[in-house]
């Protein structure tokens, strides 16, 4: 039985890139939600959580509307890079990002808020700028929880199916991720391939969750 390992590699690559993006963007969002007071904060908070409750197909639909070939964003992309954004590996990254960002933002925000406010207040009385105290006080104190959140976001990015299918499609050798490949294998009666992929992805997820658990600060 010849198994095509491309979907696994693609999934891992997509998850790595989307997690890196999610960390950069998510850290900023989490910081804003944890520290700033502004009008519409509750709306932003709800919007960030929305992907957690909406069906993946709905998210995929939104993404298609946003970056599809007919949309302004999609047309701009096509003008710059010469090829459409949808149904590529990049679109799979976007899908995974949308799927994993809410989880990352929520856990990171909780991690930032769990740092005793008095450490930050103390740093302020010493003249430390908000930037300095974030990088040198808050982040070092919260990094274990944030890393645990990153690992979970990675696992979630790895497992996305619905959104990926909607915007990246199912092109073997180009956009077919593991989750999609398993669906494809089952559909085409290729039970052996499905079994192997299922076991591999389960093992990977198990390892990731174990790592995340060990990273989380010990409960007393």
């Amino acid at each position: 039985m010849a198994i095509d390992w491309f979907p696994l590699w693609l999934s891992l690559r997509v998850a790595v890139v989307s997690t890196a993006l999610a960390l950069g963007f998510g850290l900023w969002l989490a910081y804003v939600l944890a520290n700033r007071e502004f009008r519409g904060k509750d709306v932003l908070d709800a919007a960030v959580s929305l992907p957690l409750v909406l069906p993946p197909t709905v998210l995929g639909y939104y993404l298609l509307v946003l970056v599809g070939r007919a949309s302004p964003l999609g047309r701009t992309w096509e003008a710059i890079f010469g090829s459409p954004l949808v149904f590529t590996g990049t679109a799979a990254v976007l899908a995974a990002l949308l799927h994993s960002l809410p989880l990352l933002v929520k856990s990171t925000r909780a991690a930032l808020e769990s740092v005793d406010r008095n450490y930050e207040r103390a740093a302020r009385t010493m003249g430390a700028s908000e930037w300095k105290l974030f990088w040198r006080v808050t982040l070092p104190l919260a990094w274990r929880s944030i890393l645990a959140a990153v690992v979970l976001a990675f696992a979630r990015a790895l497992g996305d199916f619905g959104v990926t299918l909607m915007v990246a499609g199912n092109i073997p050798g180009r956009t077919q991720t593991v989750a999609v490949a398993i669906y494809d294998a089952v559909e085409s009666g290729n039970g052996a391939v499905a079994r192997v992929l299922v076991l591999v992805i389960s093992a990977v997820a198990l390892v990731i969750l174990t790592v995340a658990n060990r990273l989380s600060p010990k409960r007393v």
Binding site: R121, A122, A123, R124, T125, M126, G127, A128, R136, L141
Partner: protein, 356 residues
């Protein structure tokens, strides 16, 4: 010199009643103690000075700088206020060594001076052997001294301490008072300290502000306040008095004399300015100012009979609890001499009596 006039209103919430902070005070060199029960708004005052909380109205001046002015909308960030703050749990950064904690606090100084200052502070507060360790690896006394050193290293214009002795055992408490007395000696920084412990006021305070429900109810040296509490609330807060109901029967400013009716007995006291004949008052007298005797025939001047209900061991003697809710503190030797008394009388020395 710190001058603060603060007003802040908290609306009624389902989970917390409304609260109004409204007070004005100034603190110059030395220790000013904000004394009050928890929930009186003491910490709120510190947080307003440090810039963590924005008052609704008022003005905060530190030396010649305006930190906050409600009228013109000035509200400096904590970074620009130059207030040293010692938190209740010290808030030493747990991921840094003691030395790094000090260095972090010294970072707004020029690089060369910075290291000299850190070395000086380590020397002054005897942190030499523990400077390379993290806060959780050193003793409570070292943590405490380090947090004071860290608050002082940026040359603040005022040092704010939020119940620094809370939860400390007696020897750590003594160390803390020593460290703070050292600060008072060696630095010119005014110190504002929040506490609900009366003995701490006496240990450290030159000036004491009694705060209740967001307002200053009395102000003076700890000794003055204990000698003549301004009103019943203050007397209750101090927790150091017998508080007994009475009525003024006679006042004679000429002979500095008064007569008080307490239950069925009459006591003679000093003249009480500001009171009138017939006023219902509360008589305040400290347990250690009362004397006890065995009853021998007729009652003497200012003596009343009472039944001994209970004897409680105290660090500095014994506290006798009598009927009528009167407590008397006497030495152990005195009690040994009198413990076989059949009947007791309590003597109220007339010069010790106060009324509120």
């Amino acid at each position: 010199m710190l001058r603060a006039k603060l007003k802040k209103t908290f609306q009624n919430h389902p989970d917390s009643p409304g609260f109004v902070l409204d007070l004005e005070f100034s603190a110059s060199a030395g220790v000013t103690v904000l004394f009050g029960a928890s929930g009186a708004g003491k910490t709120l005052v510190l947080d307003s000075i440090a810039g963590f909380v924005k008052p609704d109205e008022g003005r905060i001046l530190l030396d010649d700088r305006i930190l906050y002015d409600g009228a013109t909308g000035v509200h400096l960030s904590p970074q620009k206020r130059y207030c040293g703050y010692v938190f209740q749990n010290y808030a030493l950064f747990p991921h840094m060594t003691l030395r790094q904690n000090l260095e972090f606090a010294a970072e707004r100084q020029p690089r060369l001076e910075r290291y000299r200052h850190v070395a000086e502070m380590i020397e002054k507060f005897q942190l030499g052997e523990s400077a390379g360790r993290r806060p959780h690896q050193v003793s409570g006394g070292q943590r405490q001294r380090c947090s004071i050193a860290r608050a002082l290293i940026g040359a603040p214009k005022v040092l704010l301490l939020d119940e620094p002795a809370n939860g400390l055992d007696a020897s750590l408490r003594a160390d803390l008072y020593d460290a703070l007395r050292q600060v008072r000696r060696e630095f010119k920084t005014p110190i504002v300290l929040v506490t609900h412990d009366l003995s701490e006021c006496f240990e450290l305070g030159e000036e004491m502000l009694v705060i209740r429900e967001g307002k200053i109810v009395q102000q003076g040296s700890p000794r003055q306040i204990l000698a003549s509490p301004g009103n019943l609330e203050v007397a209750r807060l101090l927790g150091a008095f017998n508080l007994l109901e009475g009525e003024i029967r006679m006042l004679d400013p000429g002979r500095n004399l008064s007569r008080l009716q307490m239950g069925e007995f009459e006591l003679e006291g000093p003249y009480f300015p500001g009171h009138l004949k017939g006023d219902r008052v509360t008589i305040c007298v400290r347990p250690e100012q009362l004397r006890v005797h065995a009853r021998l025939g007729r009652l003497g001047q200012n003596q009343i009979p009472a039944d001994l209900l209970n004897v409680v061991e105290r660090p500095h003697g014994l506290r006798l609890e009598f009927s009528g809710n009167i407590r008397v503190t006497i030495s152990r030797a005195e009690y040994e001499r009198q413990k076989d008394n059949r009947e007791w009388v309590i003597e109220f020395p007339s010069e010790a009596l106060r009324v509120v």
